[in-house]
């Protein structure tokens, strides 16, 4: 990003707010080991087992049904959720960028084959696709969540990368490169793809927010990580058992609000990034 684009981004107050929210959660994720007062996966030490105790000075957000400190789990959950979502999106990009670029650049039969394949997978709502993949792997772990979420992120990414490549392909500088006799694959790698980086960056940002929601949904359907894992979706699912008791709000509200705020942060940041990088939407 050059100075002009940075300034355009900084003028966008909502985008900056999104970036600040994200920075806060990233900081929580990085510093979870230092900031968290207790271990997120073991009982709070003491003579009595403290199960579902109300928030107090020692336990800012109380303790959950296992006697784990909710605040510590929330901090470590930031780490788990952000890592899971980022890993899923990076994995999805690693598959989708070559496929989409190849389809858009080559055209013809290769393009039809890739696009029909995405048609088939887009015929299923993403949550079912994720559920089925998790069921087939038959192992409740973070790796399963990463694979399932990555798999559902691939088809839309392939389409959007292809669209971006098609747009760049029509530019005069690409025609010029072809006329100069530069080999096609080299034009793709050195000219076309770098010019697609801006839309891909925006897609990756918005996709990470969706990935957090998908991962939480998998947990809620009982196909995510094991119930003691410090992960927001898991915390929310465990808390949902006490949804009828308003006095136990601290088991339900913090993890849900953390997910909503982080996803909101990614959406605001992504929208701001798009406006800053795409000259056409700039007013």
């Amino acid at each position: 990003m050059n100075g002009r684009r940075t300034r355009a981004f900084l003028r966008n107050r909502t985008a900056v707010a999104g970036a600040c929210v994200l920075a806060l959660f990233v900081a929580a994720a990085l510093l979870a080991g230092v900031l968290a007062p207790f271990d997120p996966e073991s009982r709070v030490p003491g003579d009595d087992v403290l199960v579902r105790t109300q928030p107090s000075a020692a336990h800012l957000l109380g303790t959950d049904e296992n006697g784990f400190d909710v605040f510590s789990r929330l901090l470590h959950g930031a780490r788990t959720s952000l890592l899971t979502a980022t890993a899923s999106i990076l994995l999805a990009l690693a598959v989708a960028v070559p496929l989409g670029a190849f389809a858009g650049w080559r055209g013809g039969l290769a393009e039809s084959a890739v696009m029909r394949a995405t048609d088939v997978s887009l015929a299923f709502p993403s949550i079912f696709l994720a559920v089925v993949i998790a069921a087939i792997r038959n192992d409740r772990s973070l790796a399963t969540v990463v694979y399932a979420v990555a798999a559902v992120s691939v088809p839309p990414l392939v389409r959007q990368v292809r669209a971006a490549v098609l747009q760049v392909k029509a530019q005069d500088y690409v025609t010029a490169a072809v006329a100069l006799g530069i080999p096609p694959w080299r034009i793709l790698v050195t000219t076309v793809l770098p010019n697609c980086m801006a839309p891909i960056l925006v897609l990756a940002t918005l996709g990470t927010g969706t990935a957090i929601l998908d991962a939480a949904g998998l947990s809620f359907l009982g196909l995510g990580p094991p119930p003691t894992a410090p992960e927001w979706g898991v915390m929310l699912t465990n808390g949902s058992r006490y949804a009828l008791d308003p006095s136990l709000w601290f088991l339900l509200v913090p993890p849900g609000a953390a997910i909503a705020l982080t996803v909101l942060g990614f959406n605001l940041f992504g929208d701001g990034l798009r406006d800053a990088l795409d000259p056409r939407t700039r007013v």
Partner: protein, 339 residues
């Protein structure tokens, strides 16, 4: 016409490939259904007999062809491995529940979304616009099942207790037993059984509210940007210059011409909602396709899973096809350029 036929012809191979993928998924579910059914110590004779009855001793391609043949000719989706109940009759009930919920959600989301989007465009840059946009963004960022739980909590705290079924079973079970379709809400209205209809409406309200958030936000954002595109055009300025009040110029002139992309978005949302909202249905234990598929996965019931996924994908493909064809009807320019 040619365009329509070509689109329909393209949907058929797509559905065939979808059916293969779905069938393979059913095969890949872990575990052996016969062992699940009879236990590790089940008698080998009973297991062999059961496998033969289910056709499990046949090679996979033969079973696939039989399955597709059954679906296409008799709408026969096989029988559940767990209770031997025909999957097709489950799917019929489940689809009706999902369709009514989707309809209710769209009924809440579409008018509100179009109104809010138009108002937001007309008031561009003001506080109301910013508030509407912020709310819409929040709507797509909140985990829908969390919103559902909060709504249940809020509803119960004001004494609203219409959850757990599609209507008050104790009061209306006899009346509903006489219905001919599983569309309880629609049929009770058509039959003039307003007590049943009222009970259905009460039970569907909160789940529909939760499900409506995403279509509401999507329709609102699309309407806003489409109306903004039109509002700057000459004919709107001309109308205003001729003394047409601002509100009328926006609604009668700009909004009308902006509705095309909005209709597409509504169609896409309808396709998504009709194919089952797994998370929302799970929160409200709504007996729809979403909960059916999730429970089929949890119980490793392949025929139920395959049937459910097939119906979901077919619904999605068909709704999108209809939207695509409607687009041509609504905008004659597209018809000409396509053929």
């Amino acid at each position: 016409m040619l365009h329509a036929l070509r689109r329909i012809a393209l949907a058929v191979p797509l559905l065939l490939v979808v059916s293969m993928v779905v069938f393979v998924v059913g095969e890949l579910l872990p575990g052996d259904p016969a062992v699940d059914r009879f236990g590790e110590k089940g008698s080998p004779a009973a297991i062999a007999e059961w496998r033969a009855r289910k056709g499990l001793d046949l090679p996979v391609h033969e079973r696939y062809l039989r399955y597709v043949g059954g679906v296409v000719t008799r709408l026969d989706f096989g029988e559940s491995y767990k209770d031997d109940y025909p999957v097709s009759s489950d799917l019929r009930d489940r689809f009706a529940a999902t369709a009514e919920l989707a309809f209710a959600a769209l009924l809440l989301a579409v008018p509100a979304g179009i109104a809010a989007g138009t108002a937001s465009a007309a008031l561009r840059g003001r506080a109301a616009d910013a508030a509407a946009q912020g709310t819409a963004l929040l709507g797509v960022s909140i985990p829908v099942f969390w919103l559902g739980m909060i709504l249940v909590l809020a509803a119960r705290s004001v004494g609203w207790n219409h959850f757990q079924a599609r209507f008050d079973v104790r009061a209306h079970d006899d009346a509903v037993a006489g219905f001919t379709t599983p569309f309880v809400l629609f049929e009770s209205v058509l039959r003039g059984r307003f007590a049943v209809a009222a009970s259905c409406a009460q039970h569907i309200l909160v789940p529909a509210l939760a499900l409506a958030t995403i279509p509401l936000a999507t329709v609102m954002r699309m309407t806003r940007s489409a109306v903004l595109d039109e509002i700057g055009k000459d004919y709107v300025r001309t109308a205003e210059a001729k003394g047409v009040p601002r509100a009328r110029a926006v609604v009668r002139h700009a909004l009308r011409n902006a509705l095309m992309p909005v209709v597409t978005v509504i169609g896409l949302q309808a396709g998504t909602l009709l194919s089952g909202a797994a998370l929302t249905e799970t929160v409200f234990t709504w007996p729809g396709l979403g909960t059916y598929i999730v429970s089929a996965v949890q119980k490793k019931d392949s025929p139920a899973l395959v049937g459910g996924l097939l119906l979901v994908a077919a619904t999605f493909v068909i709704v999108n096809l209809v939207v695509d064809l409607l687009y041509g009807v609504l905008d004659p320019r597209l018809r000409r350029s396509a053929s």
